[in-house]
Amino acid sequence: MSEALVTKLVEATHEVFETMVFQTLDQGEPLPDAQGAPKSNVVGTVGFAGSASGLVAFYSTLDAAKAITGAMLGMEPGEVNGEIPDAIGEITNMIAGSFRTKMATEGDAWAISVPTVTMGSDFYIKPFSNGRRILLPFRMNDNDVYVELILTKQR
């Protein structure tokens, strides 16, 4: 997977959290071709297609999702309830959209899908068998969140 893809996705993630969640993220070591998905209760996904195709996924625990949603809406995390799916969908949408814009400067032209969010405590997301994957771990205060890029076609 090209370094530009990873760098632009990391930049996009930092920008979204700093401007919309008012939090800085500490970045962990990227995990290329990680097996399985990180432990999470809330997963947002946005697909993209064009000169490259694939998926951007955002993984968080319920506590992290409440903190993110509360920060976006000006609420205490304990007050957050039904707002989580939409807020995490929008976070995923902004990360993928900002990533798309940054890659356009590298000559890539993609269309992106509207976000999908899955919530629960016992589910498994099966990765594409033919895709290259990289998992980007981040820490937000006491919570781990992850951004994953799955590429099924690359320019």
Partner: protein, 122 residues
């Protein structure tokens, strides 16, 4: 003043409406996509439209093209709030009839400034 906020994300609608409220604007209509936006406009005029681009059923661009063809809405100010920020995207939005553009993610000050700019130019 009366505003129409069109976005499929209820979170983003709330962020935009909170910003409008802080600017002293409290009359805000909401729609979840372009088609719903057109239905709201049939109920009466608005002073400004703030719309997303990527939405199901009818995109922001399709919505604005339809709005510009409606009697009485040819010159209503439109602010687009979107992650689509490639040069070609901005050109397409301006051609469709968008007056100003906010790129997501945005700071609270950025969207306040853009709303103010559109209102001042009105």
């Amino acid at each position: 003043m009366r505003f129409l906020v069109v976005d499929d994300s209820s979170t983003m609608r709330r962020i935009v409406i909170n910003t409008l409220n802080k600017l002293g604007q409290h009359e805000c209509l909401e729609a979840g996509n372009g088609r719903e936006g057109l239905e709201k406009l049939q109920q009466g005029p608005v002073d400004m439209i703030i719309t997303d681009w990527n939405m199901p059923e009818m995109t922001g661009i399709e919505f604005i093209r339809a709005v510009r063809g409606m009697d009485g809405f040819a010159s209503v100010p439109v602010l687009m709030v979107t992650t689509n920020a490639a040069k070609d995207d901005i050109v397409e939005a301006l051609r469709a009839g968008v007056n100003n553009y906010v790129v997501k993610p945005f700071t609270p000050d950025t969207i306040k400034e853009k709303i103010d700019a559109v209102l001042t130019a009105k």
